[in-house]
Amino acid sequence: MADLHPDSAYSRDRHADPGSAIAFSPANRVRFEALLERYPTKMAALLPTLHLAQEEWGWISPEAVYYIGDLLDLAPATVFGVVSFYNMYNQKPVGKYYLQVCTNLSCMLMNAYDIYDDLCERLEVTPGQTTSDGKFTVTEVECLGSCGTAPVVQVNNDYHEDMTVVKMKDLLATMK
């Protein structure tokens, strides 16, 4: 990680004491130990451990990268390499409601971009940006495997199918 640009959130210079700043809650520590039982190597538990970390902290912070590296005997660079490869690991904090609009072909043909544009306009954000109150983040994502009920918007872990601009607006109103 040493050669990361100093402006990168993951640059070591920005973290005086990486790895010691955070730790799993006792409950998640137990879940982590249980994960290790399921695989013949420690490294194989990396993806589920990252999911656990994201569940606990909402994103994979640099501290979490160092912490997980220590837990699984992996170099921070290896952990970061995996974090940055996969789309679902957030490399910066996201809003309380993470709105992911599928715009791949089947959804696009059913007007997904209208929903996407409307969301960005309504919430006054650019794609990937979080609203200033920390409530919403909007992004465009690739096929979510729900093409028969297109367009689909994933809000945190849940799919909302057969969406329209109006339905999305109504859904937003329920998100406090």
Partner: protein, 442 residues
């Protein structure tokens, strides 16, 4: 298969349970004869189970259509390392949404299929379902079903007193299309970036954690209990020789009734769209059909009177793939549609092989430029030239997949590309499905 004397009727074989109340519960599954096939299989030899699957002529439902029984028979019997059965539930091919139905509505069908398959290939005590991370709900349904199966003794140390030991772990991916490629999936399961491996060695010899590995699609594994229970001949009763069995077809895009449809392998594509899916959205003319997920070359309206079998679709110059059928009516701009697919492949290229990493990104930029009306004449030929330098020049099939829609659309809709060059805009009947900022508005 009968000669056509009317539309083929949909069937309920793989989808027999999905509409039942509490379809995910183990009791519902057992009441409808579930886990009987497991008992039968455990009373057979491993070779006999492989033989019946071989005789069924089932071809893998993940996309490549490789015969499942043959895949199993490649696994060495006395390998020094444990053998693994992996279920590929990474369903990420745009247009495909069939495996999710099985996992969310009838998880025990998949679990029973996995136990039988693991028994047949002598898989070690742990087997994995690699499910795409976004399918959070499906993963929770599977976890619950696995707990039920453990409680009833269908999983564990001594399954139904046979001495066979197996447990199954649900392993969630984290958003990467490439992890649906079997060696990418294996790398990802090992905790790495999902970059496909050089083959050989093939996974059947050296796969996950260094052991022999079989990777099978959800729908493939879900067929296994049915084959064991009803026999290879019963399975072959659906479809035509070499393209056998019940099959789930996913239809999306511009049709009136999109969704998952089950038919014997070989339903007519035209009939599927016009009869079963209620025809084209808005009663508009059909423009193109993608028959097998984003990677499959497009078919023109006069090319769709064909049975949806692996061989027939290949003969028509495309592929059945994962049977994700995307229908486009005349409001879809071909350049816009292909741009969107190219954007997908550029985003999902794992970055390992230069032709694919660089090529997919360049194709996306050029298509975007053409769509914006800023393309230079002959850039469609440039795309074809690039396609020649991407296809077959990378480790896995993603590069080939990425050129499928590009090459087929330029060949079949050349004049629409040229219209963009000469007019700087899309055809008048097409709709703007995405905004292009200040540039070339309709």
């Amino acid at each position: 298969m009968k000669e056509k004397d009317g539309p083929m009727e949909p069937i309920k074989v793989l989808t027999a349970n999905i509409d039942k109340p509490n379809s995910t519960s183990i009791d519902t599954y057992i009441e409808s004869g579930g886990y009987e096939a497991l008992k039968t299989a455990l009373g057979m030899t491993q070779e006999a189970v492989i033989e019946v699957v071989k005789n069924s002529e089932m071809r893998g439902r993940g996309g490549a259509g490789f015969p499942t029984g043959m895949k199993w028979s490649f696994v060495p019997k006395n390998a020094p390392k444990p053998t693994y059965l992996l279920c590929n539930a990474d369903e990420s091919e745009p247009g495909t949404f069939k495996d999710r139905v099985i996992m969310e509505k009838d998880p025990h069908l998949l679990i029973e299929g996995m136990i039988i398959s693991a028994f047949a290939i002598r898989s070690c005590p742990m087997s994995y379902i690699y499910i795409r991370g976004e399918f959070y709900y499906a993963a929770t349904v599977l976890e619950k079903a696995l707990a039920e199966a453990r409680e009833r003794g269908f999983l564990g140390k001594n399954i139904l007193g046979s001495g066979f030991e197996l447990d199954i772990t649900v392993h969630r991916g984290a958003g990467a299309y490439i992890c649906g490629e079997e060696t990418g999936l294996i790398e990802s399961l090992e905790g790495k970036r999902g970059q496909p491996r050089v083959k050989p060695p093939f996974p059947a010899v050296v796969g996950v954690f260094g052991g022999p590995t079989v990777v099978n699609n959800v729908e493939t594994l879900a067929c296994v209990p049915l084959i064991v229970k009803n026999g290879a001949e019963w399975f072959k009763g659906y479809g035509i020789p070499k393209n056998t069995g019940p099959k789930l077809y996913c239809v999306s895009g511009h049709v009136k009734k999109p969704g998952v449809y089950e038919f014997p392998m070989g339903v007519n594509l035209k009939e599927l769209i016009y009869v079963h899916c209620g025809g084209i959205l808005g009663d508009r003319p059909l423009k193109a059909v993608i028959p097998g997920g984003a990677s499959a070359p497009m078919l023109l309206p006069d090319e769709i009177d064909l049975p949806l079998t692996f061989d027939a679709v290949m003969k028509a110059g495309s592929m059945l793939g994962s049977a994700g059928i995307i229908v486009l009516n005349d409001t879809a701009c071909i350049v816009d549609s292909v741009w969107r697919l190219s954007k997908f492949f550029a985003h999902e290229s794992c970055g390992q092989c230069t032709p694919c990493r660089e090529g997919t990104n360049w194709m996306e930029s050029i298509l975007d430029r053409i769509e914006r009306g800023e393309g230079k004449p002959h850039e469609h030929d440039l795309l074809l030239d690039m396609a020649d330098n991407i296809g077959g020049k990378s480790l896995c099939a993603l590069g080939d997949a990425a050129i499928g829609p590009v090459v087929s659309s330029i060949k079949k809709f050349r004049s629409e590309f040229e219209y963009h060059f000469t007019h700087g805009t899309c055809l008048p009947e097409t709709k703007r499905y995405r905004r292009l900022g200040m540039v070339a508005a309709h």
